[in-house]
């Protein structure tokens, strides 16, 4: 294989590995910009993956699976809201709790329903999001340079991949060009001012969590019924936290979020590629370095060595109207 082909195939897997990160990080973007910390992204992702796999298996319809994933994810978001908005509980504690509930419940229910050690049965072919071959992909294949790029990276992805990349400008538009977005950003910076303007802080934050749940549902469905064809025990495997890291790395802005996710997806793809290979001078690079790199980069960023990451000012603080 020549270098260009390696490059193209790695680009392809970068895209595939970034999609769940993009959905999840955008979900985190909405809730954190509204002032609600969302440690529970991992749990939402896992729960929606499980729901999507179960429903897609039972109904044979991928779209119903996606819908179930979104529904469960929104439900988790609402519980998070009930605890941290309505009852003014600690947002981090609530998120941690939901992560545990999701991690445990998916396996317990999966085992009780399907008896396959927490896995769901293989989803039949028609019930998955299959790759879409864009027109002309076959014909383009042999065109130098752009040919492989078009046929392997741009074409041949499933519909959720294209939705993910559409969600990025859409999120930007919603956050920066609509009244809802302006208010949402305001409620994350200064909820008191929003309240004074006669807008309900509670309802606004709940809506932010619903949007977050909606987006996170896509990432779970992507894992379970697009990337693979079943729910596997703990299949999110820390991706929710990587997405959180990407969100911080991108300084809570939608377009940088996409690039941060692509970067972390690339690291993942590169680690897979490098496994067992020798580098000149250094020898074999341990795969653990690539696994740790997204977190190390985020910490370096947080330390203020690559610009300053300034979180939404009211993040993590429950809003209390005057007593």
């Amino acid at each position: 294989m020549d270098n260009y082909e390696i490059f193209v195939s790695m680009l392809g897997s970068t895209v595939r590995l970034s999609i769940p990160l993009i959905f999840t990080a955008l979900a985190g973007l909405f809730s954190e910009r509204a002032g609600i910390f969302d440690i529970g992204l991992e749990g939402k992702m896992l729960a929606s993956a499980f729901a999507a796999a179960c429903v897609a298996y039972a109904t044979g319809n991928a779209w119903l699976g996606l819908l179930a994933g979104i529904g469960i994810s929104i439900l988790f978001g609402l519980i998070h809201g009930f605890a941290s908005i309505t009852n003014r509980g600690n947002q981090i504690v609530s998120g941690v709790a939901l992560n545990f509930v999701a991690a445990g419940l998916t396996v317990v229910l999966g085992q009780a329903w399907f008896s396959q050690g927490g896995r769901t049965p293989q989803v039949p072919n028609g019930a998955r999001f299959d790759p879409i071959i864009l027109p002309g992909a076959e014909a383009m294949r042999h065109v130098p340079i752009i040919g492989p790029l078009y046929s392997q990276v741009i074409s041949g992805n499933n519909i959720l991949t294209y939705i993910a990349f559409l969600m990025v400008p859409l999120s930007w538009w919603v956050l920066y060009r609509t009244r809802f977005g302006l208010r949402l950003r305001a409620v994350g910076e200064n909820p008191g001012a929003v309240d004074t303007a006669g807008i309900s802080v509670t309802w606004l934050r709940y809506r932010a969590l619903i949007v977050a749940g909606f987006l996170c549902g896509f990432s779970g469905a992507y894992l379970a019924i697009a990337q693979s064809a079943a729910f596997i025990n703990n299949m999110s495997a820390g991706k929710g936290y990587i997405a959180l890291a990407a969100l911080i790395f991108a300084k809570w802005k939608p377009v940088p979020v996409m690039f941060a996710c692509l970067l972390f997806g690339f690291l993942d793809a590169f680690a897979n590629f490098m496994q067992g290979k020798q580098l000149p001078l250094v020898g074999e690079v341990p795969v653990q370095i690539f696994q740790a790199l997204p977190y190390i980069l985020t910490c370096v960023l947080l330390a203020g060595f690559i610009g300053v990451a300034r979180p939404p000012k009211a993040g993590g603080v429950p809003y209390t109207k005057e007593r």
Binding site: V93, L109, W113, Y241, Q288, Q291
Partner: protein, 377 residues
């Protein structure tokens, strides 16, 4: 008038409300058991029987509880300073490296009671070191400690796997673990303590680190409520701005509180590495760091509460194994669900019942004062 500002007596806020929250968490856990078609009461019977029915079962329960006391204390100390340390898992993992290095260095030459103090220090220093960078980032750079400790859990896991696979592994062996420590690097079992109560320990790894854990509980109580630094920590936890205004150094207090927290988490490894398996293994922490969060929340960050909560989770962990054996439909992961529900109801929703309790309390208190008035006239 809002009910949030009405003071409640201690026995309601620290006794009745947490207890009701716990009951709600268990009610929902029972609901899950019932949903998957099993009898929740029967499940509870198996669980308690499996955790407390025999000598070795109690031994395992106390072994798990020991780990949870350490991690619970770790979370609690940070919590008193207003810091949420999610990194106990990673700090315990890296702390295991400290304990293992001491055990590997000394086990050939000295008996266990000479190794032990060094191992305690080693585990604590390594655990504290892993908490230092997040602490420094929080104190100096203002980056949120929750995020950085999560990141450090993953970095720590990657580091430990690398060390075990490439550096500490016994040459020629496949399993990524150190060599087995000689008796000089192991913490002996507490079978004599069990024998006092007429119980046989059997294969359960209940060991000396339990006593270390109890000593740490006392020391933490002393630190938090009887020292100047503890006072400064609690002040910082309640109001950082007031603490700074009163001249309490923010950076120093945050860093030292996190170092203590990380050290306590690191000591958890004494129990698992030197007490149970006598070698350092991949993933030996097994979620104990996260259980510490639940334990600390349930125990209201007080050492006595933490011991009780740790025992409860010890029962869940040991009994959960037996339960999944008796009822194959219920997997061990049911414990994780219960853990999550406990954190949800005892932690995140801790204020949910407060308004109701205030109303009930006011009614009772109001009636009492009214009857006193009547008696007076």
């Amino acid at each position: 008038m809002s009910t949030a500002s009405v003071p409640l007596p201690g026995w309601i806020s620290y006794g009745v409300i947490p207890l009701i929250n716990l009951v709600i968490a268990f009610f929902f856990s029972g609901l899950v058991v019932w949903l998957i078609g099993e009898n929740p009461f029967e499940a509870l019977k198996y669980l308690i029987d499996g955790a407390l029915g025999r000598g070795d079962a109690i031994g395992f329960t106390l072994f798990y509880a020991t780990s949870f006391i350490f991690t619970g204390l770790s979370v609690a100390v940070a919590f008193h300073a207003g810091l949420f340390n999610i990194g106990a898992e990673g700090q315990a993992y890296v702390g295991g490296l400290g304990a293992a290095l001491v055990a590997l260095a000394l086990d050939r030459y000295v008996p266990w009671y000479v190794t032990m103090p060094f191992a305690v220090i080693g585990a604590a220093v390594f655990g504290a070191a892993w908490a230092f960078i997040p602490a420094w980032l929080q104190a100096k750079r203002g980056s949120h400690i929750v995020i950085t400790t999560i990141m450090f859990n993953f970095i720590g896991a990657a580091l430990m796997v690398y060390l075990l696979v490439h550096v500490l592994i016994v040459p020629g062996k496949m399993a990524p673990e150190t060599r087995t420590f000689l008796p000089g690097g192991q913490l002996p079992k507490l079978d004599w303590l069990m024998a006092i109560f007429g119980l046989k320990l059997g294969p359960a790894p209940f060991n000396v680190s339990f006593i270390i854990a109890l000593v740490m509980c006392f020391l933490v109580w002393l630190l938090i409520w009887r020292t100047r630094f503890g006072y400064e920590m609690r002040t910082l936890g309640i109001s950082p701005s007031a603490a700074v205004y009163a001249g309490i150094p923010y950076v120093r207090t945050v860093i030292i509180a996190m170092l203590i927290s990380g050290g306590l988490a690191g000591m958890m490894s004494l129990n698992a590495v030197m007490g149970a398996s006598a070698r350092l293994q991949v993933e030996f922490v097994g979620g104990a760091g996260f259980v510490g969060i639940a334990v600390s929340l349930m125990g209201r960050s007080h050492p006595v509460g933490i011991i009780l909560a740790a025992l409860l989770f010890g029962i869940l962990y040991q009994g959960g194994g037996d339960l999944s054996f008796e009822m194959p439909n219920i997997t061990r992961d049911m414990i994780v669900v219960i853990q999550g529900l406990v954190i949800l109801f005892a932690g995140a929703l801790e204020y949910m019942l407060r308004p109701v309790m205030v109303r009930i309390y006011q009614q009772f208190a109001g009636r009492k004062s009214a009857s006193q008035k009547l008696a007076g006239t």
